[in-house]
Subunit: 370 residues, 2 copies
C-alpha cells in the first residue's frame, strides 16, 4: 500500500480497535462510564467504534463539534467547556435537544446565572467544572456548591460535576494528578450535596491519568488523603479520555503508552540530506507545533527510536538520526506527532489502513472551533 | 460589527493594504522583484492584492498550493521546496505548465538527477536551493554549481538559485542573517556561473530580514566580507517574504513590526476568570501552538501589551493580565497569534473588516500539504 502523496496521517486500524477495546474493558471492570473526548479524532467512524465498545456518549469541546456529531446521529453529548453563550449560540444548543441529551459546563456563579438567562427551562443541562490542580478553568472544589445552586436558581438542571486533571501531562505526575482528581471531585461532590443537589455524574479523566484513575486513584487516594471517608467508596462515575484511541509522542515520552500501541502516524518522505541530516516533508502544518517542556523533540520515529526531530518548520522536519545510516532520498518514513489532537485537526481525512487497503475517513469536525 | 461566533480570524484590510504597498514600494525602489510566499495567507484575494502591487508572481511550498492558485488564474509560481517527485506528482506539475510558468527547488546532485528523470525536457524549471545559515534544506553555496550542472545534464532548465535565511528568526539576528543571505547567494551565483550557467534569478528573503536586505544587506555585506567584489553590486534579484502582509506576535517580539501594523488578530471571548486570570476561547486549534525560544508567551494582546498568554490548550488561552483589571466575562478580546501562517492554516475563512462590514475570504489552499 503506497498510499496518497505524503505527508498524510495514517491510522493503524488494528491498534485503534485494541486501544478502544482495552480502555472500554478496564472501565467496565471498574464500573466507571466512559464518555470519550472526540476532539482527538473528530471522526464519525471512530466515535461509532467507541460507542459500540460501550461508551455512554461523547464529550466535545465546542458547539460546532456537538452539532457535527449530533447531525450524524449521536444522541448524547457533553460540551466539557464553560461556554459563554449569546442568543444565537443558546439557540443552536436548544436546537440539538430534540435529537440528543446535551449538557454544557459552567464554572462560576456569574456564568451559571448568565447561562440560566439563556437556557433556563430548556432541556440543556449543566455540569459544574472544578479545578483539580491544572489551573485552567473550573471553580475551586469547595465552591462547586455555590455554582450549582446559582445554576438551579437560574432554572437550569444540574447534572453533576466534572474536572480535567491536565496537570497529568508532566513526567511522573500521572498518579498524583489522578489523586488530585479524585480528591477535588470528592470535595466538590460533597459541596454540591450540601446545597441539596445530588450530582448524578462525577466526571474526570485525561489520557495520562487514566490508568492510575482506573487502577487505584479513584479509591485509594481518598483513603490516604481523607481517612474519615470510607476507603472503598468510588467517587468518579465517568471518565472522558481522548488521546487514548491513538496515543502520540507525548504519551510515549510520558510512559503512558508504548510505540507498539500508537495507532496514528504521519507518513512522510525524505526530501533532503542537507547538512548530513534527514529532512522530511512533514512539518508543523501536518504534525502541529506542540512541544511540551518535557518533549525531546517535535515528534518521534517508531523505526528510529533514538532519532529526534530537532527542527520543525511548516513543511520540513529536520531529523538527527543519532548516528544511524541516513535513509535514502525518497524513502517513506513514519513520524508520530507530539500531540495527536493538533495533527488530526490539520487534515480533512485520515487514511485508515484496513486489510483491503487504505480507506479515507473524513475528519468532519475539523476546524469546528465555535 | 459583532462578527461571527468566536474564535475567528479577523483581517484589518486597511493595514493589510498598507503592509503590501509599503514592501512593494521598498522593493521597487531598490529594483528587486517581489515574489511573495502565499503560504502565509493561502487566500486568493490577498494574492491578487500582492500582484496588483507589482509582485512578479507567487511563491508556494507545496504542489497542492501551486495547483490551487494556478487554478484560480495565477500564471507564475515557484515551489520553493526540494520536492521529491514520483510519476504522479511530476504529472501534476507538468499539467500546470500550459497555464503558468512553474519552477521547483532542487538541493542535491541526486535530487537534480531524479527530478530530471521525471521532468527533463518539460517546461518546469528548477532553482538550486542554497543554505545561507538556517541549516534546514539547501546545498552549501560553493557546491551550487555541481547541482546546477547535474540538473542541466538531466535535461532541466536552471532558472537560478534561492535561499531562505530563516535564522533571521532570532533576537538581533535580522542584519546578520541578511548579510549571510547576500554572501551565500553571491558565492552560489559565482559557483553556478563557473559551470557555464547564468542564474537569471537570485532569490532570498524572509520577513524579519526583509528591511535589512532591502536597505543595506544586499550590497554592503559584500563590501565587508568580500572586498575584492565591487561594493555596489547587488546580488539578490528577488525576495520572497510571506508574513509581512499580516505581521504576528513573533515579528512584534523580534521588533520587525509594531502592533499598529499587525493586520490579523483572533477575536475571542472571555469565558472564565478561574484563578483570577482571564481565560479566552482562543486555543491552539485557532492560534497554532508555535512558540519560539524567544517568545514571551503563546500570543500577544494589542489592547493589553503587558499581558501574556501563559498557558495554551486546544480551546483555552490563559492570560496573566499583569495587574490590569480583568475584562468582564463575555468581553471580546483580540489576540495576535505567534505565527500567523499556522493560524491561517487552521481556518476555512478569514473575516475581512471592510467599510461595509465583515466579508469572508476563503482560505482556499488551507491544508494543501502535498
Amino acid at each position: 500500500m503506497i498510499g496518497p502523496d505524503t505527508p498524510y496521517l495514517r491510522v493503524d486500524v488494528a491498534r485503534l480497535h485494541a486501544n478502544i477495546d482495552r480502555v472500554a474493558a478496564q472501565a467496565a471492570q471498574r464500573g466507571v462510564a466512559l464518555r470519550p473526548h472526540v476532539k482527538t479524532h473528530k471522526t464519525m467512524e471512530i466515535a461509532r467504534l467507541q460507542l459500540a465498545a460501550g461508551a455512554v456518549g461523547i464529550t466535545v469541546a465546542t458547539l460546532g463539534e456537538a452539532e457535527t456529531f449530533v447531525r450524524q446521529g449521536i444522541d448524547d453529548v457533553v460540551v466539557a467547556y464553560p461556554l459563554w453563550l449569546d442568543a444565537a449560540s443558546a439557540g443552536r444548543l436548544r436546537d440539538l435537544t430534540p435529537d440528543a441529551r446535551v449538557a454544557i459546563g459552567v464554572d462560576s456563579v456569574e456564568g451559571a446565572a448568565h447561562t440560566g438567562l439563556l437556557l433556563g427551562g430548556s432541556a440543556v443541562e449543566v455540569l459544574v467544572e472544578v479545578d483539580a490542580g491544572h489551573h485552567r478553568t473550573g471553580v475551586e472544589p469547595a465552591r462547586a456548591g455555590e455554582v450549582a445552586l446559582a445554576a438551579r436558581r437560574a432554572g437550569l438542571v444540574v447534572r453533576g460535576i466534572f474536572t480535567f486533571p491536565g496537570h497529568s501531562y508532566a513526567p511522573g505526575a500521572t498518579r498524583s494528578a489522578a489523586a488530585d482528581e479524585a480528591d477535588a471531585l470528592a470535595v466538590a461532590a460533597d459541596a454540591v450535596r450540601a446545597v441539596g443537589i445530588e450530582p448524578r455524574v462525577v466526571s474526570g479523566g485525561s489520557t495520562p491519568s487514566l490508568e492510575a484513575s482506573l487502577e487505584a486513584g479513584l479509591h485509594t487516594c481518598l483513603d490516604e488523603r481523607a481517612p474519615d471517608r470510607a476507603p472503598d467508596r468510588g467517587v468518579v462515575t465517568e471518565l472522558r479520555p481522548g488521546v487514548y484511541v491513538f496515543g502520540d509522542a507525548q504519551q510515549w515520552e510520558l510512559g503512558t503508552t508504548t510505540p507498539d500501541r500508537i495507532a496514528l502516524t504521519c507518513r512522510s518522505t525524505v526530501v533532503s540530506h542537507a547538512g548530513g541530516r534527514m529532512v522530511l516533508d512533514a512539518g508543523s502544518k501536518v504534525l502541529g507545533a506542540d512541544r511540551a517542556a518535557y518533549a525531546t523533540g517535535f515528534g518521534r520515529l517508531p523505526e528510529l527510536p533514538d532519532a529526534r526531530v530537532v527542527m520543525l518548520s511548516e513543511h520540513h522536519a529536520v531529523v538527527d538520526v543519532a548516528g544511524a545510516p541516513l535513509p535514502p532520498l525518497g524513502t517513506r518514513v513514519d513520524v508520530v506527532p507530539n500531540h495527536v489532537c493538533a495533527a488530526v485537526n490539520l487534515v480533512d481525512a485520515l487514511h485508515a489502513e484496513e486489510p483491503a487497503g487504505l480507506r479515507a475517513w473524513s475528519v468532519t469536525a475539523r476546524g469546528m472551533n465555535s
